[in-house]
Every structure is written in structure tokens, then in C-alpha cells.
Symmetry: C2
Subunit: 260 residues, 2 copies
Amino acid sequence: MKTKPNVLVSNDDGIEAPGLARLVEELETFANVYVSAPYRQQSAVGHSITIFYPLRVYEHYKNGKLFGMAVEGTPADAVKIGVMNFFKDVKFDLVISGINHGTNTAINIIYSGTVSAATEGTLLGIPSIAISLATYSKVDFKTASKVAGKIVRKILEDEDLKIHKGTLLNINIPNAEENEIKGVKITKQGKSYWEDDFEIRSDPNGRDYFWLTGRMVITDETNDFDIIAVSDNYVSITPLHYDLTDYHSYEEIKNWKIEL
Amino acid sequence: MKTKPNVLVSNDDGIEAPGLARLVEELETFANVYVSAPYRQQSAVGHSITIFYPLRVYEHYKNGKLFGMAVEGTPADAVKIGVMNFFKDVKFDLVISGINHGTNTAINIIYSGTVSAATEGTLLGIPSIAISLATYSKVDFKTASKVAGKIVRKILEDEDLKIHKGTLLNINIPNAEENEIKGVKITKQGKSYWEDDFEIRSDPNGRDYFWLTGRMVITDETNDFDIIAVSDNYVSITPLHYDLTDYHSYEEIKNWKIEL
């Protein structure tokens, strides 16, 4: 790298999340880092954008220093307005969303605000990466941010590692010590899914309300799939895109005859 | 059809939307129809689900008769709780989301609550269809619901038209008279995209707020793509899935060497 690369960082856990703070610290050792992130926790928002309401934005300070821009909106909103307005004179080399507190593999990807922020970066024509740490326990993100930093730096510096236009990388880091991590594995999105349930509770006035619960059903078997690779202590990198066409079905049904 | 099929109807425009009402009327001529839809307008929510908050639900009456269940949540929430709780003893033959007021083609699909409701149906193992009317003008949905009814009935009755497990159909109906509609075309998701902008306004206290605006850039050329087919007065049917893996990139990058 001749000059420092420019990186926009966002997330879905909100601008005060420790996973974002640690990632920014790590990236600042080799990049110019700009932050535009949701004001509040936004998990499971999927790829939402705010069109019916205006967006309010705030400068966010940390230890008396401007840390970044906080957006009262979704992860996709934060990336869009960051690139197009707050930092519109910056030529970004990368958008990074993370580090998310929790796994984003298999079916969870379609609900993921973290992946959504990276998707938005890709839509804006910037190579983009979503990064998640595969645990819901309280963690300090130190190892994860170190690992993330190494991978990001390699991708920025190595001419052979180019992210295809229209593709984003979804990275999941196992919650393990550095010496326990077996390496990096390029994977596919797993087919594992949720078996959902709703818990019915009563409020203090005796009215019912519902709470979503569920358990993940693991149907994937090899570490060619994200969910298995990460549980097997590999860093999983999955190339994703936003062309949802089911080409296999397309070939099957393209000659359907439906008269109106 | 020996017995009447069971159909769950949802949407993202909310339970009071005329597009849903017309669709239900039409489907009731040949199916048992159950409604579980968001309480409020939910457009551009993407594939969100509510996990941090409880869901409140209400019986929704119309002309003194129970019309369906209203869910204070997203389209995906409404389908999930409809299938798993409200109507858990019903064996559904189809989930239909719509009729959405506005096009759901090309890149818009990834922001679409309408498509999200159908995705949720597919995840629950039920063949699912999203239906949109390609206009933002005030319309009565009469022609669109008639056309939708014909297609749905054909798919339910014709043994040769099976929806592949894991696939959903995204249908866009042109806003045209019945005799102007040229027919049905099986399509792929277009590559057309938004060129976004943010309008900056001032509130009465002089504080700035931002509003997302933009224009669609049409890059697709043939009516093999949803966006062109529907503007060419075809009913567009696109098979979608939720495997976001970019298999083309996967093959390209699967041998990346990244040392940690």
C-alpha cells in the first residue's frame, strides 16, 4: 500500500458497541477509518431502508474526540448516508460492517443487519465485508479484531485477492484463542434453519403477548458450509451476492404455460 | 381440486390495505383464506423479524365480521405467527403476500417486505408467492386481483406447475387493462439499481434532517428480466431463493491463501 486505504465502518449493534470500537482501533493502525453507524441496536432488521421518515443524524464523541456519525436508522441507511453525504469527498477502498456480536451464518444471513450494511456498500460500488464473532457470550473482541485486521489488510494489499464487483464477503470468526483458530476457509451459506416457536405470556393486565423463540436445526455436515466451518474453529469467508434469482428453478419453470 | 385449498394471506402494506382486501375477495371464490398481516404499513422493512420485543396481536374486524389477525410486527413476523400459532391446525397449500401497491423488481426485491413475507412462508415449508401491482398511482386492484386469482388457481390446480422446495415466486402485474396484458413471462431478477440521493431539509428549529430520494437506473434490456417484462405489459414471474452464496465468486476465491 502506497497511501493509507480509506475504510468506512458501520454495524448493526449501534455506534457504541464494543465490537465496532475494537475493530476501528485495529483498522486505524493501517487505514483511514470513517464511522457511520446506527444510533441504536438494530439486529434482525434485515435489509431495511428508511423511506417514509426522515433520518436524524448526530455527531458521536468518544473521550472528547469526534468518533463518527450516528444515524437514527438502519445499518443500510448508515452506510448509504455515510458514503453519499457525511464522507462524500472520500474515495472508499472498503466498507466493513462489524464486528457483530453473534454468528451470521446459514439462514440467519437473510435477517442480518450486519450483512445488510455490507450489501449496501456493494450496491454503492465499494468492495464490502461483513464481520461477525460467533458467540453471544460477553467478550472483549480483542482476538477477533486482531484476526479481522489481518484478513482485511491482506485483502487490501494482495493484488490476487480481489472482491468481484457485486460480491460481498461474509466473515465469521470463531470465539477462540488465536492459537486455537485453525485457519481461513472459503465457504458456502449453510442450509441449516430455525425451528421456531412462540412463547405466549400474559402482561400485568392479563393480555397475551407473544415472544419468538426457537432452536437452530443443523443440517449441514461439512466445513464447506459457513456454520460448520466456524464451529470447527475456522474463520469462515462466504462470498454473497444480492441476485436472488433461483436459476435452477428458472430453467425448470421457464416454459410454464399460464393463459390469462 | 377435490377440496378447497388453504391459503394464508399477508402483505407489507398493512391489514387495511385495499390490495389485500381485493386479493382476499378473489381467493375466497375458490379457497379457504386466512389473513395474518402487519397492523401498520411496513414497506422497505426487508426481511426483518422481531426478536428483542414481544409481539402484540389483534383480531381485525371488517363489517362486523372477523377478517383476520393484525400483528404489531413485520411481514415475516405476521406469516410466522400466522402459520405457527393463529392457524396452527390448518395445513396450508400456499402463502400469498400482496397485492403490494408498487413494483417489486430488480434491486428493490432486497428491500421488499412483500417478498420477505413470501420468503418466510417458504422457510416454513409452504409454497409461497409474492404479488405486486406495478404502480404507485391510486388504483382499485380489480384487474390485478382477477389476474392474480387466475394465476394462483392455475398453480394450485395444475400438477405440472410445481413450486420447487425452497423457491418462492415473485409476481409483478402491470397496471393495465386485462386486454392490454400480453401474457405471463418467467423472468430473472433485473440488475437495474437506484442512484440515491439525500435531500437535506431544516426542521422548524433550524436543525437538519435527511430524506432519501433517488432514481432507478435501468440497465436491463430484454424482457427476460422482471423490470422490463412488467413495463412491457407482461405479468412477470421470477423464481427466487434465499441462498445468497455467490457460487461464481466461490469458485474464483475458494483457493485464496490467507495466513493468520
